[in-house]
């Protein structure tokens, strides 16, 4: 918990633009540099900044641990699910051509979904690791 007003106010101002930039990197990865891994890290850095300035308990109010762990697993499941979906539609595992009306739109949908899965897993793993490291000490001292 940091009492410095400059840090607190600038964190509140910066939080939304960082998330927005993360989403831009996430969904603009088809056209410019970026993708799920980078976007996940950027989104995670916004939450970690919030936790550093306002304290881990406030950060856990923003993103509760059970939702964090749920999203962590959901990302991998989404990626695998796209693969299974293409299998169920009669193609090979992770072959996106079948997902859309034309092969190209199928590829677009598949890439968007799996990149989103990667982003979800990476961001939530980073947040969970930070929370685990920071709360490790308090558990030890009990």
């Amino acid at each position: 918990m940091n009492e410095n007003p400059i840090l607190r106010v600038s964190t509140k101002i910066l939080f939304a633009p960082i998330i927005l930039f993360g989403l831009y990197v996430q969904f603009h990865g088809d056209f410019g540099p970026g993708g799920g891994f980078q976007a996940g890290v950027i989104v995670a850095s916004a939450f970690i900044l919030y936790s550093i300035v306002f304290g881990v308990d406030e950060g856990k109010k923003l993103l509760p641990s059970n939702i964090n762990l749920f999203l962590l697993a959901l990302g991998g499941l989404l990626y695998g699910g796209v693969g299974i979906a293409s299998m169920l539609l009669g193609e090979e595992f992770l072959s996106y051509n079948i997902l859309g009306s034309s092969p190209q739109s199928g590829q677009h949908i598949g890439i968007l979904l799996i990149e989103f899965g990667v982003g979800l897993t990476v961001s939530n793993v980073m947040i969970a690791l930070f929370n685990a490291f920071v709360s490790f000490k308090s558990g030890k001292n009990k």
Partner: protein
């Protein structure tokens, strides 16, 4: 061409300076900050090689989030590194020998960006054409990463997931066992 040479020389000098500073410092927080700075310079190096995606990853993961995680983990470590008392001649010889072999081999590498080099001949032309015709995405890196090499990226995601879960389980287990020990010791007292 000459400006590229100047930029590369500058980046290599900064990297060397950071490396030497890393060797000399024994304070952990300086080590973490210098490693972060090294990653940032490496990201600039990747930009001069036109590998923007790699540079982006290096800047955000190497210089950004891993520094934060190192700092968070540093709270459980002693502030100063222990002085190494073992002889350093053998490690130094190994490094010099290995570095010499690598530099010697680098003379056989094709020129950077040369179209006739083997890496640009095998499967890359198919990927470049396919990214335009079959997938319809301007960023070839994304189409290789997500579509042509979708299995590998799936594996990477699962690795990130498994590593995260493993660390969480280790840290959680440790707190639980220490709690249980406390409970046991309390029982003995009562």
């Amino acid at each position: 061409m000459i400006s590229e040479l100047i930029i590369n020389a500058f980046l290599v000098t900064v990297m060397l300076a950071i490396g030497i500073a890393l060797l000399r410092t024994r304070t952990l927080i300086f080590t973490v900050v210098l490693t972060s700075a090294y990653s940032l310079v490496a990201a600039l190096m990747f930009i001069t090689l036109d590998a923007v995606d790699v540079a982006f990853t290096e800047a955000s993961v190497g210089a950004g989030i891993s520094t934060i995680l190192f700092l968070a983990a540093m709270a459980y470590l002693p502030k100063e590194e222990e002085e190494n008392i073992n002889s350093q001649i053998l490690p130094a010889l190994t490094c010099i020998l290995l570095g010499g072999i690598l530099i010697w081999c680098s003379y056989d590498l094709p020129e950077i960006g040369l179209l006739s080099s083997p890496v640009h001949q095998h499967i890359v032309p198919d990927y470049i054409l396919g990214s335009r015709d079959d997938i319809g995405i301007p960023n070839i890196v994304t189409s290789v990463l997500a579509s042509y090499r979708g299995y590998d990226t799936f594996g990477e995601t699962i690795v990130v997931f498994t590593a995260g879960v493993a660390v969480l389980v280790l840290l959680k287990n440790n707190t639980q066992t220490s709690n249980q020990k406390n409970k046991n010791s309390k029982r003995k007292v009562s």
